[in-house]
């Protein structure tokens, strides 16, 4: 039985017709948020990470219906070409976007951290990114990038 999902995505209120068994990942991609990636569909790789009600979550192991009345942020909602989010900019500057497939999820995990903790230690960054697999970079550069982004957000850079 189809139902209407009431949800705010990147600040825009939406009413989306969904099936009760549809995954949030599938719904988001269906309505055009292609920055939400599908890498494993088992909750392991983290490429589908979004922010829901202030927490980074894996949208491939959630039903869309769980997001009812929720606020979602996807990668499309955090920066523009002219005004990228500091984390996006730091990832570019540090040269840590390789194939890019893990990047939206990783950036949102990083944002989830920095929104709550603007001055994280390296260990806290590692811990916050531990749900996002990357096969290209070896992670160290991304940890550095999050650190640089935190400095930028704090206005130290």
């Amino acid at each position: 039985m189809s139902q209407i999902l009431h949800v705010t995505i990147n600040g825009e209120q939406k009413e989306i017709s969904i099936e009760p068994d549809e995954l949030l990942l599938d719904v988001l991609r269906r309505v055009g948020y292609k920055g939400v990636k599908r890498g494993c569909k088992e909750g392991a790789c983290g490429t589908c990470t979004i922010i829901l009600n202030g927490y980074a979550v894996k949208s491939c192991i959630m039903l869309a219906a769980q997001a009812e009345n929720g606020e979602i942020t996807t990668i499309e909602g955090i920066g523009t070409r002219d005004n990228p989010h500091p984390i996006q900019q730091a990832f570019v500057d540090e040269g840590v976007v390789q194939c890019g497939f893990c990047i939206p999820g990783m950036i949102l995990s990083a944002k989830n951290l920095l929104d709550k903790n603007p001055n994280p230690t390296e260990e806290e960054i590692s811990f916050a990114l531990d749900g996002n697999l990357c096969r290209c970079t070896g992670y160290s550069g991304q940890i550095k990038a999050v650190k640089a982004a935190a400095e930028a957000i704090r206005g130290e850079k």
Binding site: P20, D21, L23, V57, I61, Q66
Partner: protein
Amino acid sequence: MKNVTEYLYPSDLSQALILYAEHEESAYIAGGTHLAAESRNNTKRLIDITRLGLNEIIDGNGEVQVGATATITEMYSSPEISKVGNGVLKKACQLIADTPLRNAITLGGNISRLYTWVGLPVVLLTLDAEVEIMNLHGERKRVPAADHFANGGVKDGDLILKVRFPVRNAWFHSYEKFSLTTADYTWLTIAFAAEVKDGKITDARLAVSRITKATRLKAVENALIGQEIANIDVESLLTVLESSVDIVKDFRVSKEYRRQLLGVLFKRMIQKLQEETK
């Protein structure tokens, strides 16, 4: 979740119970991390229990009460939780899955079914936590964690409301999850707690999971009680330990290895106890 045809949002607890009772193939959903990935499941009606205010963490009277829909992250970052068992509960939370999963996984989900890989049951056991459950008739009961797990987790229609964790900071507590990578499914999870008075162990809890269903190893606990900290007979304890667990098959790693690992981790916990109570 291929068969789900309804997803409902009760406005209060009693409505949740009614919605559940109405349909034979109902299930409660909170974090949903396991349900969403599950394909061999007949559930048709899902009842969302995350909007019923069941996620409160309350500090009171020597115990911390944690609502069933509190996420692992909420627990991990709660100052109340870090008080429990000298931080043992917080450590257990830290070692569950990974950050975006901890943001979704709830306390209730972690203990409602007896999945052996989940992280919290062993600490519930070593802390003598109590699980507060509401049945379909709206009756509340408080079930000791040991009974809860021994009885196979929740019964059909039962809804976990909260868990009461005794703070129990006077005890020694230790927790280990041994896995291939940090975020891997555990190979062996073990929690140990001991009460020491006048250089002697006066009470003890030891619980393991994954190598078997989450369970207390009472034979070892009994063997510990009365031992002098300075002269714990580790060798004979290890013999008791070995005979008190029937290790289940795990296609990833042999029984023989996990048998040895269990001994090593336990021995190290004893050593830590000795160091900390010196």
